[in-house]
């Protein structure tokens, strides 16, 4: 069945993930978005980061609905424990999810949620306060599908929008194993995800969005350390991103129509290695066997709101 974000085999609804894939390597884009496959082994960083971000979003929603700090924390800790539990028919009801990582473990996920909320949960006048939309609802978990051009949609999800010093910022959670410093924050400018947030935030809120606050958590074996960095975008930077994004999208759409997805061999080693390196490094005639053995279906669709 065709994904919702595709029409006649060509993608029309895009997000930062698919844009990044197309910019990195058209073959990687093909395997992920068109073939819809991913390595059987789940990416521990995406799993951990997703559970963590979802817990913090939940906390701010509970708080906005009038829950106390304690009740909101208990609720999101409970949800995180449920979501990291593999349910089965055994008398124990299942078993804890294993993350296969020394620091990103289930207890350390709960530690990181509790420590973050202890540090930042209670909003203060001089800190970050959750922005409220015109109808009074808190600006958390905002999924968007916006027109990037006449026939292209750009989709995404803003974790939270905050008011800081009288200016609006999108807040995005990131987890890392590295020390949080200027070098860590440098990676978010340029960034499709962050510039896309600044562009979308402005359209959704009908008000200028100054940039994105990266709410970073360094996950170590025995501790979690937090740090915040701001990445700002000017109107001209957003316009330049918009033009580049459309260029890449049109290129990928053309490649799809032509059924030609050349490899970008210079990106295979980035970020610890491309997950499709094992396939691309094999002769063409045996690749399908490797795909069958080592990869599984992947249903990433930008139009499926979280």
């Amino acid at each position: 069945m065709e994904k919702r974000s595709f029409r006649d085999g060509v993608q029309f609804a895009w997000d930062a993930t698919s844009l990044e894939l197309a910019q990195t390597c058209l073959r990687k884009y093909y395997y992920t978005m068109i073939r819809g496959i991913q390595p059987r082994q789940q990416n521990v960083h995406l799993l951990f980061g997703g559970l963590y971000a979802s817990a913090l979003e939940g906390y701010y929603k509970h708080k906005a609905a009038g829950a106390s700090h304690e009740d909101a924390m208990r609720s999101v800790v409970h949800t995180a424990l449920i979501n990291s539990w593999v349910r089965d028919e055994s008398p124990a009801g299942g078993y804890p999810m294993t993350f296969d990582h020394a620091a990103k473990t289930r207890p350390n996920l709960i530690r990181t949620i509790v420590w973050y909320l202890e540090q930042y949960g209670e909003e203060t006048e001089d800190g970050l306060t959750t922005y409220h939309l015109a109808d009074g609802t808190p600006a958390v978990e905002l999924s968007f599908n916006l027109e990037l051009s006449e026939d292209i949609l750009y989709c995404g999800h803003l974790d939270r929008v905050s008011d800081f010093g009288g200016k609006l910022y999108v807040v995005d959670q990131k987890t890392t194993g590295s020390t949080i410093g200027p070098y860590f924050f440098d990676q978010f400018n340029p960034s499709n995800q962050m510039t896309g947030y600044a562009w979308a935030g402005k359209v959704i809120l009908k008000s200028p969005v100054h940039g994105v606050i990266i709410d970073a958590a360094q996950i170590a074996i025995n501790f979690t350390e937090f740090g915040r960095g701001v990445t700002t975008r000017t109107e001209s930077q957003i316009a330049e991103w918009h033009e580049s994004a459309l260029w890449t999208i049109n290129l990928a759409r053309h490649a799809t129509e032509m059924e030609k997805f050349p490899m970008n061999a210079s990106s295979c080693g980035n970020y610890g290695g491309c997950p499709f390196r094992r396939v691309c490094s094999r002769p063409q005639h045996v690749r399908e066997n490797f795909i069958k053995a080592d990869y599984t279906e992947h249903n990433w669709d930008p139009l499926e709101a979280r």
Partner: protein, 63 residues
């Protein structure tokens, strides 16, 4: 096993408010310990799974 380790092995759907509060209290204690002396916590070596397995074997070598 400590009480908190037991709780992490318990089906979350069967957890009580007290269970959740015990986990949160434990994490708060660890945070307080870290805040009072970060260097000591950072320096603490945690055994890897392989190291734990070896240390649990209790082998006596008769060489």
């Amino acid at each position: 096993m400590s009480q908190v380790t037991d709780l992490f092995m318990k089906d979350p759907l069967k957890m009580t408010k007290e269970d959740l509060d015990a986990i949160i209290a434990h994490m708060r204690e660890r945070r307080a310990a870290y805040k009072s002396n970060p260097a000591a916590v950072k320096a603490t070596k945690t055994l890897t799974a392989a190291q734990k397995a070896v240390s649990g074997l209790n082998i006596e070598l008769d060489i």
